[in-house]
């Protein structure tokens, strides 16, 4: 099982440093969810882990080998990433988009093969996009489009999959569907999954491992029970909350406390 880890990672854009000395080992074969406020550096961390951004200091390693010692295709066969806001070219069909996921599996000598067709079919099937394969991406709803992108990442068939907010644009049932799908993928193929999520309760329910980020650092990490606490929510999001066990899963569940809309006993 491949191990992805970052040590003393420092990275940013231009002269703005975003990540400040961050240590992180992705638990192999597990599902990790990263949570944190907007602009705290979650996407920046994923981009460093996938070598899309060169660290200013520190290093990311895959199986003990520095990331920049891998060839581009070789790395892309081991590690996939779905960016937060991917760009679809005009007029591309779902099948075409998903087929792009097979790019790292083709070389100068190994062209498109029946196995590539099967991988595309598996990805379409798993994401429920089989019936929409011929559609233009432009002609899909936001949720269908998101699933098409996930299908592309699945077709890559990597051991590690990083997903930046895979559930944005999805209604609650499709959010649950995508997360269930990721769990299936994790269980059946042992795929290591790291995803950025904004919904703390879904993160706690679906992730084996929870990471809370604050200002470019990891402020807490561990099991959902250990990480999702009232103190963490207050520190990371500056929000008062009530954390109770989720009756359906037994995992912690966070109820935000605002200034309005609550019973008087709770608001006090």
């Amino acid at each position: 099982m491949t191990i992805l880890s970052a040590a003393a990672l420092q990275a940013g854009y231009g002269d703005r440093t975003i990540l400040r000395g961050l240590d992180f080992t992705v638990p192999p074969g597990r599902i990790t969810a990263i949570v944190g406020a907007n602009a705290c550096g979650k996407s920046t961390l994923l981009r460093c882990l996938a070598r899309l951004l060169r660290p200013e200091a520190g290093e990311v390693q895959l199986d003990g080998r520095a990331l920049n010692r891998f060839g581009a295709r070789d790395l892309a066969r081991r590690l996939g990433l779905l960016p937060q806001s991917p760009i679809a070219p005009d007029g591309i069909t779902v099948a075409d988009l998903v087929s792009h996921g097979r790019h790292p599996h083709q070389g100068l000598l190994s062209r498109w093969s029946p196995e590539d067709d099967r991988a595309v079919a598996r990805a379409l099937e798993a994401t429920g996009m089989a019936d929409l394969a011929e559609r233009d991406i432009d002609a899909l709803s936001g949720g269908q489009r998101q699933r098409a992108w996930i299908a592309m990442a699945l077709a890559q068939e990597t051991g590690i999959l990083l997903l930046d907010e895979p559930t944005t644009f999805l209604d609650i049932s499709h959010q649950v569907e995508v997360l269930d799908l990721l769990v299936d993928l994790n269980r059946s193929r042992g795929t290591t999954i790291v995803m950025v999520l904004h919904d703390l309760n879904l993160a706690a329910r679906y992730a084996d491992h929870l990471v809370a980020m604050l200002d470019g650092r990891i402020s807490a990490s561990g099991s959902p029970e250990a990480v999702l606490t009232e103190a963490m929510v207050e520190e990371v999001f500056g929000l008062k909350s009530l954390v109770i066990p989720d009756p359906t899963s037994g995992k912690p569940m966070m109820l935000p406390l605002g200034r309005h809309g609550m019973r008087r006993e709770v608001a006090e």
Binding site: L52, P86, I92, P104, D117, L124, Q156
Partner: protein, 347 residues
């Protein structure tokens, strides 16, 4: 995860082959059209040469009259038109694809003007000729590309900024060309026009040779890198995550595209808007979905061939090819700029 039924894999394969066949058919149709255009320009000019005579001249047989009109005048002109058109079309579509914007074409953002200015400078003021001019033009094209890139760099390059900087540089370089031409009193208007708008007047097969070599080298490189160019349309992050070595491939693609444009420009001058128009026209014909590299090359060839024919024989008076393509491209450019203005920089 459950295994997908094989029938779905079969359907995926069928869909893929159908699209590939569609693209091949479109490219084949354009190739036929190009051959028809070639046949027309070779046989019908100021006078008509029967197809049999044309074929005999092509086979190397000496035919009185036809050997001169076809072999020495029409053939070199058509060959240069086709090769230059392919270079402009391919170089243009690659830029448009990579920057995801039809305005990011080398003839709009000053790369053609850079090659052209260097060529004029070398020919008029330094008295150079031949390959050295081509080499200087390529170097100047690359220099302009690098300058635009650096000037529009701010935490990465945004398409809209690159285009604005490029249009400004193009305007500056065009005034350099005009200035150099003013300093060359012995030059005829025909020659001056070549460097302002592009022309294939007085073409020879020797002139076409460097364009052919550049097409073989740079065009071959671009076709080898077409997969990377295709994935760059998905955005830098997605392309890199799919295993495209971005920095390397982008540098090679820019080098090859600039090389194509610059070598062709050094021979024919900057034939207006061919690089800019070929990609969008090819996209209309082949349908969207994939970057139309080969179709854009064929479109470019057809554009130059037909526009030159029109400028010679169909319009009242004789015009260099660049005047005709300029008249075709200008309205489309205005349309795109107005639309860009409305969408706030998005293509």
């Amino acid at each position: 995860m459950h295994a997908a039924p094989d029938s779905l894999a079969t359907r995926v394969a069928v869909l893929r082959r159908r699209r590939a066949r569609g693209r091949t058919r479109a490219a084949g149709g354009m190739l036929l059209l190009l051959l028809a255009g070639l046949a027309l320009t070779l046989s019908l000019g100021q006078s008509f040469t029967p197809p049999g005579d044309v074929l005999r001249v092509l086979a190397g047989v000496e035919v009185p009259g036809a050997s001169f009109t076809v072999g020495a005048l029409r053939l070199p002109r058509a060959v240069l038109s086709i090769l230059a058109g392919m270079s402009f079309g391919l170089g243009g579509v690659v830029f448009q694809t990579m920057f995801r914007n039809p305005l990011a074409s080398p003839d709009i953002i000053g790369i053609s003007a850079g090659a052209s200015a260097a060529a004029v400078f070398a020919i008029v003021l330094l008295g150079w000729s031949g390959t050295t001019v081509s080499v200087l033009a390529v170097a100047a094209g690359l220099g302009v590309a690098a300058a635009i890139y650096l000037l529009s760099w701010r935490n990465g390059v945004a398409g809209a900024r690159l285009i604005l900087v490029g249009i400004g540089i193009a305007a500056m370089l065009e005034s350099v060309i005009a200035y150099v031409l003013l300093r060359a009193p012995a030059w005829s208007l025909q020659d001056a026009l070549r460097w302002l708008t592009g022309s294939v007047n007085g073409a020879t097969l020797e002139q076409a040779l460097p364009v052919l070599l550049s097409l073989a080298l740079f065009g071959g490189l671009l076709l080898a890198l077409r997969g990377s160019a295709e994935l760059m349309r998905l955005g830098d992050d997605t392309a890199a995550a799919l295993g495209v070595p971005l920095a390397r491939d982008r540098a090679l693609i820019v080098l090859a595209a600039v090389g194509l444009i610059a070598v062709a420009t050094a021979v024919t001058g900057p034939i207006a808007f061919v690089a800019f128009l070929s990609g969008p026209i090819a996209l209309r014909i082949t349908g969207p979905g994939r970057a139309p590299l080969v179709p854009a090359a064929l479109t470019g060839a057809l554009l130059v061939l037909v526009a030159d024919y029109a400028g010679q024989h169909l319009l009242p008076g004789r015009y260099p090819v660049g005047i005709v393509t300029g008249a075709l491209g200008a309205p489309y450019l205005i349309y795109l700029i107005i639309r860009t203005n409305r969408t706030g920089g998005r293509p």
